[in-house]
Point group: C2
Chain length 266, copies 2
């Protein structure tokens, strides 16, 4: 049962945390046609409010260690402050948004990440997305705004990477829609030369990704982002776009699509 | 179109903010049959976290003054911390809860309270409840968990009294269900003698309410609570029960019902 296009747009914390860029983002989001989902971060605000509360933010490999105190902070900041301000901002623009964590309507169930070398604390690895429930909302004209929090089904909230939430949501909706997953960040796309903002690689195949990693062109946080993208494509998502926050319509940036041909942009 | 019974249960901050009493409340809430809504407070946590952030809580006549900083705190605490922990706790008990502020799905629209003698700041007076939207959720087996926050439709969240949220939600659902509104608080009901916990007045008519206020038997925060109750009855709510947090099934306490006969308990 495929009901046309659906866009899943993930925006980083920085964009949603500054009032001016948030307003612009919301204007751009409203202009996107058809069913859509907004997935947001909020790490900078969480770090700031944690510091004001005397709670130290511990990061390992760019990932936050989430102890019980930090879980309270991210629940407040992601689930409350950031999420509800986006929802109110969309309602003001005539978009019938609903803010969701994974616990709400049980849309995303996770497992607490097992402790191997590092104990990340109350961090979730996504186990199951209720795509049918999300599709019902979308078909009723409701726009989910998803905070990077999930739950374990035993009463515990879990801090969960927003890129992963976006990819898993896209996969969960793939049986119901032709899904485009759009990752917005500070750059215009995947860059061939980090120093040249205009060196955007237009498309990447799995084989090219492997080569780009080996060559050191793709590195750091871009590696898990692209891994998420390829997994989403493998799971039935039509296309993934990695682009800038001022290009959330997905018409620019780096395109990864299914089938992985050189230029699959329509 | 009336679809049977529906219970709206309002619980104060104290009950939901202490882990032990919260667990007991959630167990009791799960046992309530039929469509149901949970409305919660969270003032004590808000005051505590505000203090930790160096923000002073200003109260006038028991009502919080909500400046921009305090609005951020209550958005975090009510919309995030308290609400999402309740939702996760209900999911763990097999209840398909969704946490909502008034902004989510536009369920409660408010006006910022006009400044008369006192400027309450970002505080909302409820203008409109989307009962049809809430009824749709309930009929789909979803249980709304409502935080005491609304929005003005222009992008602003507004701090809103939880008793009012409960009464307005009950009124909004009255065209769709036979609604029972249950207010839970520290006492067993409306007491004839403040010093005697067992002096619960079983039922109160509007005429008796007037007399009880004149006699000084009913005073303080109980006056607006009862005013909310009578307004709800006038607007089609079947019955209102004022009772203790360990009696959320509404079988004990003070009953106000429609029509206002002496003992309308079924």
């Amino acid at each position: 049962m495929v009901n046309g296009q659906c866009s899943i747009i993930k925006v980083g914390g920085k964009i949603v945390e500054e009032p001016e860029s948030l307003q612009r983002l919301l204007d751009d989001f409203v202009a996107i046609k058809g069913p859509k989902v907004l997935v947001h971060g909020g790490g900078r605000s969480a770090t700031k409010i944690a510091a004001q509360l005397g709670i130290e933010s511990q990061m390992v490999n760019g990932r936050r260690i989430t102890d019980a105190d930090m879980l309270r902070v991210v629940t407040m900041v992601y689930g409350g402050l950031v999420n509800k301000n986006i929802v109110a901002g969309l309602q003001a623009r005539g978009v019938n948004a609903v803010g969701l964590t994974g616990a709400d309507m049980n849309v995303i169930l996770s497992d607490k990440r097992p402790v191997k070398d590092i104990d990340y604390g109350f961090v979730g690895d996504v186990k199951q997305v209720d795509g049918a429930q999300l599709a019902n909302l979308l078909q009723a004209g409701i726009v989910p705004v998803m905070a990077p929090l999930t739950h374990d089904g035993r009463g515990n909230l879990l801090n969960t990477n927003a890129d992963t939430i976006a990819a898993e949501t896209a996969k969960g909706l793939a049986p119901y829609f032709d899904v485009t997953l759009i990752y917005c960040f500070e750059k215009k796309g995947v860059l061939r030369d980090e120093a040249d903002d205009d060196s955007v690689i237009p498309t990447i195949t799995p084989q090219q990704f492997k080569e780009l990693v080996e060559q050191g062109v793709v590195q750091g946080g871009m590696i898990p982002k692209l891994e998420n993208a390829f997994q989403a494509i493998d799971a039935g998502v039509k296309q993934v776009v990695i682009t800038a926050a001022n290009a959330i319509d997905g018409q620019q940036g780096t395109l990864i699509c299914n089938p992985p041909i050189l230029n699959c942009k329509q």
